[in-house]
C-alpha cells in the first residue's frame, strides 16, 4: 500500500515536472484541437464550427509571424495581406496549375518568402515607424495589383481555384488538411517559443528597446531587422499555403488592407509578446463572429453588426488593458486568487475566531 503510494508520488512529481515544460500547454492545446476534429468527424460537434476554428488557426499562424515583427523587433508593417496572398498563389499555381510536387512548391514558397522579406528588411533599415507601415502598405497594394493583372500566375480577378490536392501521390481529404493545419500550427508555436527564448529573441527585444544599446552589445541592426522581416514573411507565406489548402480558392480582393489591419488588431488586442495572447486575439477578431456571434439571431439577421462588436472590443481592450487580452486574463486570475483568499480568511474568522 505504502509502496503504491510512493510510486504514485513519483509519477505525480514527474508529471509536475513535465507540466512545467513550456511546450506542455501548447501540446495539450493541439491534442484538444485534434480531439475536436475527431468529434467533428464523428458528427458530435458541427462541422462548420471546426471549419471556423481551422481558419482561425491559419490566421493565428500569420499573427505569430507578425508578433515577432511588432512585439519583438518593434517594426510596424501593413504588408501582411500581400505576403499571405502570395503564399496562396504559390501553391495554387505551382502545385495546382502546373502540378509540381508539393515539396518543390514549399521550397519555391520559402525561397520567395526569404527574398521578399529580405527586400522589405532592407527598406526598414532606412525607414522607421509610421513611414515603414505606409511603405509596406504600398508594397502590399502593388502586390494586389499584380495579383489582379498577372493572370497567367493568379487567374486575375476571377480567383484561382485549388482542388484535388495530392501529397506524395495521395489524395488529401478535407479532414486531413485540418490535421495538417493543427500540426503545422503547434509546430510553429513551438518554433516561435524557441526563437523568443533564445539569444535571437533577446536580441530582437534589445533592438526594440534601444538601437544604440543593441549595437553596442554586438547586435547588428541589419542582420536582425532582415531576420525579423524574413521570419514574418515566411509565417505569412505558410499561412497562405494552408489557407489555399483549406479554402481551395483565392481571389485578390481578399488580400486588401482590411486583412493586414485585422492581423494587426489581433496582435494588439491579444498582447504582442505572448503566444497565448496572440491565439486569444486572433480568436477575438476572426473566430468570435464565426463561432459564437453567428449563433445569435440578431447577428444572423445583420451579419455586418459583428464588426461593431469587434470594434468595441478593440476600443475597450486598448483603453483598459493596453498590454492586450493576456493582461486581462492575468488580471482576472489574480482577482480570482484574491477573492479566494479573502473568502478563506472570512470563513476562518467565522469558524475559528481572530488569530491569537
Amino acid at each position: 500500500m505504502t509502496t503504491l503510494r510512493l510510486s504514485f508520488d513519483r509519477i505525480r512529481k514527474q508529471l509536475a515536472i513535465i507540466a512545467k515544460h513550456p511546450y506542455f500547454g501548447f501540446v495539450v492545446f493541439g491534442a484538444i484541437l485534434v480531439v475536436l476534429r475527431l468529434l467533428a468527424l464523428g458528427g458530435i460537434i458541427p462541422n462548420s464550427l471546426m471549419k471556423s476554428l481551422v481558419i482561425t488557426m491559419i490566421y493565428a499562424i500569420v499573427a505569430l509571424g507578425f508578433s515577432l515583427l511588432l512585439g519583438y523587433a518593434g517594426l510596424a508593417s501593413l504588408g501582411t495581406a500581400g505576403f499571405v496572398g502570395l503564399g496562396t498563389y504559390f501553391i495554387g499555381h505551382f502545385s495546382g496549375t502546373l502540378g509540381y510536387p508539393f515539396l518543390a512548391t514549399i521550397l519555391i514558397s520559402l525561397l520567395g518568402a526569404i527574398v521578399l522579406g529580405a527586400i522589405v528588411g532592407f527598406i526598414s533599415l532606412r525607414i522607421e515607424g509610421m513611414y515603414l507601415a505606409i511603405i509596406t502598405l504600398g508594397l502590399s497594394e502593388i502586390m494586389r495589383e499584380i495579383f489582379k493583372s498577372f493572370t497567367a500566375f493568379t487567374n486575375g480577378v476571377n480567383g484561382l481555384g485549388f482542388r484535388d490536392f495530392t501529397l506524395f501521390e495521395l489524395e488529401v481529404s478535407e479532414a486531413a488538411v485540418d490535421f495538417i493545419v493543427i500540426f503545422v500550427f503547434i509546430l510553429l508555436i513551438i518554433g516561435t517559443l524557441n526563437i523568443i527564448k533564445s539569444p535571437t529573441g533577446r536580441a530582437l527585444l534589445a533592438m526594440k528597446n534601444s538601437d544604440s544599446a543593441a549595437q553596442s552589445m554586438g547586435i547588428g541592426l541589419m542582420k536582425y531587422r532582415l531576420l525579423a522581416f524574413t521570419l514574418a514573411t515566411i509565417y505569412a507565406v505558410i499561412g497562405g499555403l494552408l489557407y489555399m489548402m483549406d479554402q481551395q480558392f483565392s481571389i485578390p480582393t481578399t488580400w486588401s488592407l482590411d486583412f493586414s489591419l485585422n492581423i494587426l488588431a489581433a496582435v494588439v488586442v491579444g498582447g504582442a509578446q505572448s503566444i497565448t495572447g496572440i491565439i486569444l486575439g486572433t480568436f477575438t477578431i476572426f473566430g468570435l463572429n464565426m463561432t459564437v456571434l453567428k449563433e445569435i439571431a440578431f447577428f444572423r439577421e445583420y451579419p455586418d453588426a459583428t464588426w461593431i462588436v469587434s470594434g468595441m472590443l478593440i476600443i475597450l481592450i486598448t483603453m483598459f488593458y493596453p498590454g492586450g487580452l493576456i493582461r486581462l486574463l492575468l488580471a482576472i486570475k489574480f482577482w480570482l486568487i484574491k477573492i479566494w483568499k479573502k473568502l478563506k480568511r472570512k470563513w476562518s474568522v467565522y469558524r475559528y475566531g481572530e488569530d491569537d
Binding site: 526563437i195 533577446r202 549595437q215 553596442s216 554586438g218 475559528y352 475566531g353
Partner: protein
C-alpha cells in the same frame, strides 16, 4: 605578394586562436556544471532508494515493534497532525461558544460546552492512543519477529547499499572519465593555442605594432569632430595604458561623450584615428569597424542614461550582453539543440558569477522596471563584464548616485579592473570619484586638451583650475 600572404596567414591564425580560446573556455566552464548535474542525480537516486527501503521494511518493523527512523518520523508527523487538528477544533468550539453566549442564557451554554470540551479531549486521547498502538509492539512472539525483522533489514540494506555503491562507482567513473576527457581536450587546446600564439608572435609584423607604444591599449590620434559650425572635439590626442583606470574630465559640453561615441563608432570623426591593441600581435584601426563589431574587439561601453531591455529579467539582460559569445547559429536556436542548452547553462553560471561580484543576486529574476537608479547603474556595469571585455568605457557611472553609492562604485571599479584584467576608461563629473580611482586623468575643455597626468598633477594644473573655477592665470 609575400606580404599579402603573410597577412592572410596571420588573419587565419588569429581566427583560429579565437575559436580555440572559445572552445577552451567553454569546456572549462561546462565541466563543473556537468559534474554538479551528475552529483545531483545521484543524490536524488539515493534518497529515492532509502524511501523505497523504508516502505519495504515498514510492515516487518511494525510487526516487530521496532521504530526505524522512517517509522519514527511517520509517528511524530501523525502525532503532530492530531495535535494540530484538535487545536483548531478547540478554537472552533470556543468560537461557537462565544456565538451561543450571545443568543441564549449563560448557564445552559456553559454546561453544554463543558460537556463538548470534555468530549473533544476524550476523542483526542483516543486518537493519540490509537497512533501509539499502531506503532507499539504487537502481541505474540516478539523475539522471533524482531529476529526476522533484523535479518530482513540487513538483507534489504545490504542490497540497497550494494546497488547505491555500484551506482556511485558508476557516477564516479563517469565523472572521472568526463573530467579526464575534458582535461585532455583542454590540454590539447592549450597546446594548440600556445602553438598558434607562438606562430603569431613569431610572424608579427613590426609595422602595425610600432604604431602605438608597447604598453598602451588605445591611442587616439589627432581626433576632430565637427558638427556643422561647432568643433566638438579639436585635434585631440591621448594614450590609454593597459590595465589602468583612465579618466576624462571637463566642464559640461566639453565633448567628452562625443569622444566616447567616436571610439565606439557611433559617430564618424571628421578626422583623426583611433588605434587599438586588440591582442599581443595586432593593432587595429577602430575607424575601419562598424558599431556592432566594436564589442567583438573587446571594447564594451555603458550609457549615460540607463539603456536596459525593460521587458526582460536582469539575468536575461546580462545574457543579451553576452550575445557575441554565443556560437550557436539560428537553426540551433530554432530547434533548441543540446549545444544551445549547454551554452545557455554556461552563460547563466557566468551571469550569476557577475551578479554575485556586484551584489545583485537578489535581483536576478526581477524586471528592471521600477528598480532604484543605483541598482540599474550597477546592472549596466554588470552587462559590460559578460563579453570578455578588455577596455570598459563608462559614461558617467556615478551620475544620479548618492555619496554612499559612489563610494561603493569606486571600490567596484577597482575590483573589476583587478578581477577581470580590464582597462577602464571613464567620463565623470564627480571629482571625488575621479581623483580617487583614476591612475591617469585627461582634462579637456571645448574639445581641446588642457592637461594629462596623475590626479595630483591635474589638481595643481593652472589651465585646469582656470577652466573649472574661472581663475585668472
Amino acid at each position: 605578394m609575400a606580404k599579402m600572404i603573410d597577412g592572410l596567414l596571420q588573419g587565419f591564425r588569429l581566427h583560429r586562436l579565437n575559436r580555440l580560446r572559445d572552445q577552451k573556455s567553454f569546456l572549462e566552464n561546462y565541466l563543473p556544471i556537468l559534474v554538479k548535474a551528475i552529483r545531483d542525480r545521484e543524490e536524488r537516486r539515493i534518497k529515492l532508494a532509502r524511501d523505497r527501503d523504508g516502505a519495504a521494511l515498514r510492515g516487518p518493523a511494525l510487526a516487530a515493534g521496532v521504530l526505524t527512523p522512517a517509522l519514527e518520523t511517520e509517528r511524530s508527523t501523525a502525532l503532530a497532525n492530531i495535535e494540530e487538528r484538535y487545536r483548531w477544533r478547540a478554537k472552533a468550539l470556543a468560537q461557537s461558544k462565544k456565538r451561543a453566549l450571545s443568543k441564549s442564557s449563560e448557564d445552559m451554554v456553559v454546561a453544554t460546552f463543558a460537556v463538548r470540551t470534555e468530549q473533544l479531549e476524550h476523542q483526542k486521547q483516543v486518537d493519540l492512543e490509537s497512533v501509539g498502538r499502531r506503532y507499539a509492539a504487537s502481541q505474540g512472539d516478539l523475539a522471533a519477529a524482531r529476529e526476522a525483522f533484523r535479518i530482513q533489514a540487513e538483507e534489504v540494506h545490504a542490497a540497497t547499499d550494494a546497488r547505491l555503491a555500484a551506482a556511485k562507482a558508476k557516477a564516479d567513473k563517469i565523472i572521472a572519465a568526463k573530467t579526464a576527457a575534458y582535461e585532455t581536450k583542454t590540454d590539447e587546446l592549450g597546446r594548440k593555442i600556445e602553438k598558434v600564439r607562438n606562430l603569431l608572435i613569431a610572424n608579427k609584423s613590426d609595422e602595425t605594432n610600432a604604431l602605438i607604444p608597447e604598453d598602451s591599449l588605445l591611442s587616439v590620434r589627432n581626433l576632430s569632430m565637427r558638427f556643422g559650425g561647432l568643433m566638438a572635439v579639436d585635434n585631440l590626442s591621448f594614450d590609454v595604458k593597459k590595465g589602468e583606470i583612465f579618466g576624462l574630465i571637463g566642464p559640461n559640453g566639453a565633448g567628452k561623450t562625443t569622444i566616447f561615441n567616436c571610439i565606439t563608432r557611433f559617430y564618424r570623426p571628421t578626422s583623426g584615428e583611433m588605434l587599438y591593441r586588440k591582442n599581443a600581435v595586432e593593432v587595429i584601426r577602430l575607424n575601419d569597424y562598424p558599431v556592432h563589431d566594436i564589442i567583438r574587439q573587446g571594447i564594451v561601453r555603458t550609457f549615460q542614461n540607463v539603456e536596459l531591455v525593460w521587458e526582460l529579467t536582469i539575468l536575461d539582460n546580462l545574457l543579451v550582453a553576452a550575445h557575441t559569445v554565443y556560437r550557436t547559429g539560428f537553426f540551433g536556436q530554432l530547434f533548441h539543440t543540446p549545444k544551445l542548452r549547454r551554452e545557455e547553462e554556461v552563460m547563466r553560471a557566468k551571469a550569476f558569477g557577475v551578479l554575485g561580484t556586484l551584489g545583485l543576486l537578489p535581483y536576478a529574476y526581477a524586471i528592471p522596471y521600477g528598480l532604484p537608479y543605483g541598482i540599474l547603474k550597477k546592472i549596466e556595469l554588470a552587462r559590460t563584464l559578460m563579453a570578455h571585455p578588455k577596455l570598459i568605457i563608462l559614461d558617467e557611472p556615478a551620475a544620479g548616485l548618492n555619496d554612499k553609492e559612489t563610494e561603493e562604485l569606486a571600490v567596484l571599479i577597482k575590483k573589476i579592473r583587478d578581477d577581470y584584467h580590464a582597462t577602464i576608461f571613464l567620463v565623470e563629473h564627480d571629482m571625488g570619484l575621479v581623483m580617487d580611482v583614476c591612475d591617469t586623468i585627461c582634462a579637456i575643455s571645448f574639445g581641446k586638451k588642457l592637461a594629462i597626468g596623475t590626479p595630483a598633477e591635474i589638481q595643481s594644473d593652472k589651465l585646469v583650475r582656470s577652466a573649472y573655477l574661472g581663475e585668472e592665470s
